[in-house]
């Protein structure tokens, strides 16, 4: 009998610990001036690490008196966690996966938001000799032929999916010692590529943000296959009724509105926001993203 | 006088080891009861059973007439206290250490204050209140342990080798404290391996060996009339001679025992002729006969000194008996040895004091 009491006591203590923790954190951790509403946005590393979302979300938060919780994930991970009901809205760049996500009934109201572009970067001495080529698939072919070291994200992200698309166009299945999947985010992949002086496919924004820290240059750009469109999707309210569908729709409306599109158009040209200090810094002189929801000439007149 | 403890057929086994076998004891209220035995004899086991820290495998313990099995251990334990062989104090001030027993009894502050003072006075540590007990010397720490154990005025104090880890000066301080505590009316049960300590302190002694009680009696009985060879050896009877009763004559009040190559004569004992016996004689009861003095003593034997070992104020001589295999041990004062010019290899005559010899039937 004594033994049973002891076990019960242990369980009670564990449960007490758990619930008091829950209570305490509810009381103390959540911000004291808790806004009325919260929006959970699952998105990719590129939108966060460039600081674009900081520029976009601040006016939105003020306008709707809400807070946007940004989950910085890979595209695959972002869609997956939304599928599990852990987000209200997703902002990603992987068209096929987005369509599947909507097709399976997890998301509704997909809208085009913007695009940035991919670039092929590599060492200054360019051992594969691809600099200035117009066609990305041809450049990949050359990298494969010369067996120059190529680092792949290998994480099923939007960038990785784009890379596979280019390999398919080139008619090559990349295998061999020269082809190295990393399994990490864009920044980490660029760092590894820089350390080993190899080639990789990157989005322009992440590269520009890191340019000052590395010795890699842009070798291929401008091929239409390298364009990288971002879509925004609300979580299907009939699947997850507790999620904040209304605010998700407001967010979609906002970033596709002239206000949101203008912020996207100008971001990076004149200023960027430092993700650490949240302070404005001088820009790169070129935009990082191009708005797609409103025709650019129309937008400029507004 | 009533019994403090009554122990019946007590038996304790730890796994395979039988630590205590079929023990029967009576400990009287107010006495100092010594438990004497070598280490591993079962002294600690017995004390732990008395303190109700462990449960016996078999048998019964009555405390003040109460069957300990049927009463609350905590309630009974609060009427006694034990001091362990390993000097143990808590990592706090001397005051808090001594007050501990009162605090767990929920006594009020003023009462605690008064009693702690008195207890520290008893052990001669007044003024030590604010010292951390862990920083004290071994002797001081043991005195704190005594204050801790007596502050709540227990009826019985159980002491497990209280001087085992102390130097001779602290040993006598502690022995003094034990006597003082006993004078306050507290029954003391003292486990020790030191025969001299048991002799000095105990009113009665039980000799424990290998989990069994060999003999219970007053110190004199234990030391001068050991009932078994173990007791004899343990209490310091160095000289043990095997023999066979030759003549037993009550009229002449004489017993003649044939040993190896010589005869020994002692006062009469009711033993049959032909009985095998063991003769015990303590080293201090063997006399060296001065060669210049004529003697009519019985039991004089010739021997050669083989070794001389200083033992404090005494010298311990080892002597090989002439025409015999027996070697005897003799303690004599240094000055006497000097006077007789005793040296290794010197031949001397010794005499075994008739009345100091103790005969055990073997």
């Amino acid at each position: 009998m004594k033994a049973i009491y002891s076990v019960i006591l242990a369980i009670v203590i564990l449960a007490l610990g758990f619930f008091s923790g829950y209570y305490l954190s509810q009381e103390k951790i959540s911000t004291p001036e808790k806004p009325a509403e919260e929006l959970v946005l699952a998105t990719t590393t590129s939108t966060v690490d460039t600081g674009l979302l900081d520029a976009l979300n601040k006016p939105f938060e003020e306008k709707y008196n809400c807070r946007v919780k940004v989950l910085r994930l890979g595209t695959g991970e972002a869609l997956k966690t939304a599928e599990m009901g852990n987000a209200d809205v997703v902002l990603v760049h992987a068209r096929k996966a987005e369509d599947k996500f909507v097709g399976e009934g997890y998301g509704v109201n997909r809208r085009d938001v913007m695009h940035n572009d991919f670039i092929v970067i590599g060492p200054l001495n360019d051992p594969a000799g691809i600099k200035g080529m117009k066609n990305a698939a041809d450049a990949f072919k050359k990298i494969a032929q010369t067996e120059s070291t190529f680092f792949s994200r290998g994480d099923n992200s939007g960038t990785h999916q784009k890379e596979r698309e280019i390999w398919a166009n080139a008619g090559i299945t990349p295998v061999g010692k020269w082809y190295k999947p990393v399994g990490k985010g864009m920044g980490d992949t660029i760092i590894i590529t820089n350390e080993k002086q190899g080639y990789t496919l990157s989005d322009r924004g992440t590269y520009l943000a890191m340019e000052k820290n590395i010795n890699l240059v842009i070798l291929i750009e401008g091929d239409p296959i390298l364009f990288n469109p971002y879509g925004v999707i609300a979580i299907n309210p009939s699947k997850y009724p507790k999620r904040n569908y209304q605010l998700a729709m407001a967010y979609i409306g906002y970033i596709t509105s002239p206000q949101g599109q203008k912020i996207i158009k100008d971001y990076g040209k004149y200023m960027i926001i430092d993700p650490l200090t949240k302070k404005q810094q001088s820009g790169y002189g070129q935009p990082l993203f191009y708005p797609d929801a409103i025709n650019i000439t129309v937008l400029e007149k507004l | 006088m009533s019994n403090m403890f009554l122990i019946k057929n007590l038996h304790k086994r730890y796994g395979e080891k039988e630590a205590l076998k079929d023990t029967n004891l009576e400990i009287k209220r107010g006495e100092i009861f010594g438990i004497l035995g070598p280490s591993g004899a079962g002294k600690t086991t017995l004390l732990r059973l008395l303190n109700l820290l462990d449960k016996p495998t078999n048998g019964k313990i009555f405390f003040d007439g109460i069957d300990t099995e049927s009463a609350s251990s905590l309630e009974l334990r609060r009427r006694m206290a034990m001091v362990f062989q390993k000097i143990t104090v808590f990592n706090m001030s001397v005051y808090d250490n001594v007050a501990y027993g009162l605090k767990v009894r929920k006594e009020n502050e003023t009462e605690i204050d008064k009693k702690v003072k008195r207890a520290l006075e008893l052990v001669g540590l007044s003024g030590y209140e604010n010292r951390n007990a862990k920083t004290l010397s071994g002797g001081e720490a043991q005195r704190v342990a005594f204050a801790m154990a007596t502050v709540f005025e227990p009826e019985v104090l159980l002491l497990d080798e209280p001087t085992a880890n102390l130097d001779p000066i602290n040993e006598s301080i502690i022995e003094d404290i034990v006597l003082r505590i006993n004078k306050l009316g507290i029954t003391v049960v003292l486990a020790t391996h030191k025969q001299a300590e048991a002799m000095r302190l105990a009113d009665r002694i039980a000799v424990l060996n290998n989990g069994k009680i060999e003999q219970i009696g007053k110190p004199d009985e234990i030391f001068y009339k050991p009932k078994t060879e173990f007791v004899a050896k343990f209490v310091g009877t160095k000289n043990i001679i095997e023999g066979k009763v030759k003549v037993a004559d009550p009229q002449a009040d004489m017993l003649k025992i044939a040993a190896d190559n010589f005869d020994i004569i002692t006062p009469y004992k009711p033993l049959k002729e032909g009985t095998y016996v063991t003769i015990c004689i303590r080293p201090e009861d063997v006399m060296i006969v001065r060669p210049d003095v004529k003697t009519n003593k019985k039991n004089t034997l010739l021997g050669k000194i083989t070794d001389i070992i200083p033992e404090g104020a005494m010298l311990r001589l080892h002597l090989l008996l002439k025409e015999s295999d027996y070697s005897l041990v003799i303690d004599i004062p240094r000055h006497a040895a000097k006077k007789m010019d005793l040296k290794v290899d010197k031949e001397v005559t010794i005499s075994l004091e008739e009345t100091a010899m103790h005969i055990i039937e073997s």
Binding site: K2, V7, G21, D54, R72, M84, I214, K242, L276, T277 | -
Partner: protein
């Protein structure tokens, strides 16, 4: 830039971030301390209760419990994070609690990680208290509860070490709290579930090694400060 230069620049940046009271860094540090602090506090309560139970009581399943604790001590944090994530996901069995991507989820994860370590070290601390201490308490009239409390007090130093070990594991954690917390900071720079450790992963990923090192230096300072505070506390209680 050479690796050493990163270190120097990181150190300079750490000083700058601290002395300019950078609000983002302060907010991130606050979340870190709150999450790890509450987690370790709860772990300590549970661990001392468990350690006491295991040290002083005999019960059915004790051996099993010890095995579980020992196993959990070496559990890879990412696995813990993943399991907590699946349980707390909105579509998961505990989804109704709405805890995914909250500080509470991080607290739960760190609690699960820290409790076995604190328990394990506390058990050995209690075990190293001489047997005579407990026996002396009993013989002086202590109840079992009094005796237990006294032995725990005697094991104080070891238990403090245990808590520090737990705190160390909690405060150094990255992978698992990244999964369950989501590494969220708002646009105005206030952290919700971003800690120094998870912020470091972002800075490293972006190649901002100097900033990452700066945050790391702050993190190490915190751990040192905790040890230092405990050290002073210990000395005070010993006098």
């Amino acid at each position: 830039m050479s690796s050493l230069e990163f270190l120097f620049e990181g150190f300079a940046k750490a000083v700058e971030l601290i002395f300019t009271l950078n609000p983002y860094v302060i907010s991130v540090t606050q979340v870190q301390l709150k999450v790890s602090g509450i987690a370790v506090l709860l772990s300590t309560l549970t661990a001392i209760a468990l350690a006491t139970l295991i040290s002083f009581r005999k019960f059915v399943g004790k051996g099993l419990l010890i095995t579980i604790i020992n196993t959990f001590m070496g559990l890879p944090p990412v696995i813990v994070g993943l399991v907590v994530f699946i349980l707390l996901s909105t579509s998961g069995p505990l989804g109704f609690l709405n805890l995914i991507y909250t500080p509470t989820a991080m607290i739960i994860t760190q609690y699960i990680l820290a409790t076995p370590i604190i328990t394990g070290v506390a058990i050995s601390a209690i075990g190293s208290v001489e047997k005579e201490i407990g026996d002396t308490a009993l013989t002086l009239g202590a109840s079992k509860l009094d005796m237990t409390w006294l032995v725990i007090k005697e094991a104080k130093l070891g238990i403090i070490t245990a808590i520090l070990a737990g705190f160390g594991r909690a405060i150094a954690e990255v992978g698992s709290i990244l999964i369950v917390g989501g590494n969220i900071a708002f646009a105005d720079g206030t952290s919700y579930t971003r800690t120094l450790t998870t912020a470091i992963t972002i800075e490293t990923a972006m190649g901002n090694f100097a900033t990452a090192i700066a945050l790391g230096i702050i993190l190490i300072s915190l751990a040192l400060a905790a040890n230092f505070a405990v050290n002073i506390l210990q000395r005070r209680t010993e006098d």
